[in-house]
């Protein structure tokens, strides 16, 4: 049974490759022709129109991001610049911005109160349970809950 098995060593070694007539006679000339068609290697920047568009897009994106993320520089208006304005102009501007003199006054009072609290904490609140219950009876419990 083993004798019938095909062994590679028993096969005639035949080169399976054939080529068209005169292929190897012409090949050197064809290769030489292609060799001389090859452009000389010159180191130059590989820049295309696509690169230009991509660069412009990237630059625009960076500019937009910087614009959006740049902090509002109100403090860049120097004190000297404000001092050159008349009080009436400032009041007019605040009115235009819907900020009344009364609001400013309240803000000022609140600021004084907050400052005083931060320096002097509230004294211990002494309120009786009865007083709390009385106060609660005056409030709308549902709103609180």
């Amino acid at each position: 049974m083993d004798n019938k098995k095909i062994r590679l060593a028993d096969l005639p070694k035949i080169n399976p490759v054939q080529t068209p007539d005169s292929y190897f006679e012409d090949l050197p000339q064809r290769i030489q022709a292609r060799v001389h068609q090859q452009p000389a290697k010159v180191l130059k920047p590989h820049w295309t129109a696509r690169h230009s568009w991509l660069s412009a897009g990237a630059a625009a994106s960076v500019a937009i991001l910087m614009y959006l993320s740049w902090p509002t520089r109100q403090d860049s208006i120097g004190v000297e610049t404000l001092s050159q304005l008349h009080s009436e102009d400032i009041v007019q501007y605040l009115e235009h911005e819907n900020v009344s003199v009364l609001d400013l006054s309240e803000v000022s009072k609140n600021k004084i109160l907050i400052d005083s609290l931060s320096n002097n904490p509230l004294p211990a609140v002494r309120v009786s349970k009865k007083e709390i219950l009385e106060q609660l009876s005056l409030e709308d419990i549902d709103d609180i809950i």
Binding site: K5, L11, I14, P16, V17, T19, Q32, V35
Partner: protein
């Protein structure tokens, strides 16, 4: 003309073209034969043979003589061939099996591939080998290249090449007897 004489003439700008022409004539059949057995199709083999020699022209000045000239050329040829087969697979999203089946079909259709039934079957068996093992098989079986030189071409140790060839022969014989 010896390889060293060819290299000396190539180094001289006045005799460079002449030397290169002689070099192509000296190695074209071996290079084409190796590539053709790997890619089967004549026009593909023709393109790859030309590409191989163009690369030889471009880089021959950098050849340092660490290996023999023809193993250096074989190395370029095998790299070109593997790159071609990989690109072909990637371009058409083909698996290894599909490419091998396509090459197998070319064996049947190609009038330039000679041989009787058993030779035809042998070629199909070789195609079932992994690409690198196929290269090893061709260099050893058809070109009768010493393992030392095959090692220069593939960058693989001689021991690994011997084992690879042994397994290749075993797989081929199994295919020949099993089908």
């Amino acid at each position: 003309m010896t390889d060293q004489e060819l290299l000396d003439k190539f180094a001289n700008p006045e005799t460079r073209n002449y030397a290169f022409n002689l070099l192509v004539r000296k190695y074209q059949q071996k290079v084409y034969g190796l590539i053709r057995k790997m890619v089967i199709d004549h026009s593909d083999a023709d393109d790859l043979t030309q590409e191989t020699f163009i690369k030889v022209w471009q880089h021959l000045e950098t050849f340092r003589g660490d290996s023999q000239l023809y193993t250096w050329i074989y190395r370029i040829a095998s790299n070109e061939t593997f790159n071609f087969l990989n690109k072909k697979r990637r371009r058409f999203f083909l698996s290894l099996d599909v490419v091998d089946h396509e090459l197998e079909a070319k064996i049947d259709a190609d009038p330039l591939l000679s041989g009787d039934d058993i030779q035809n079957k042998l070629q199909k068996a070789i195609l079932r080998l992994p690409e690198k093992q196929r290269l090893v098989f061709h260099m050893r079986y058809y070109d009768e290249m010493p393992y030392e030189e095959m090692s220069e071409v593939t960058g693989t140790s001689e021991g690994a090449l011997k084992a690879s060839y042994h397994h290749a022969v075993k797989k081929i014989e199994e295919f020949l007897n099993g089908n």
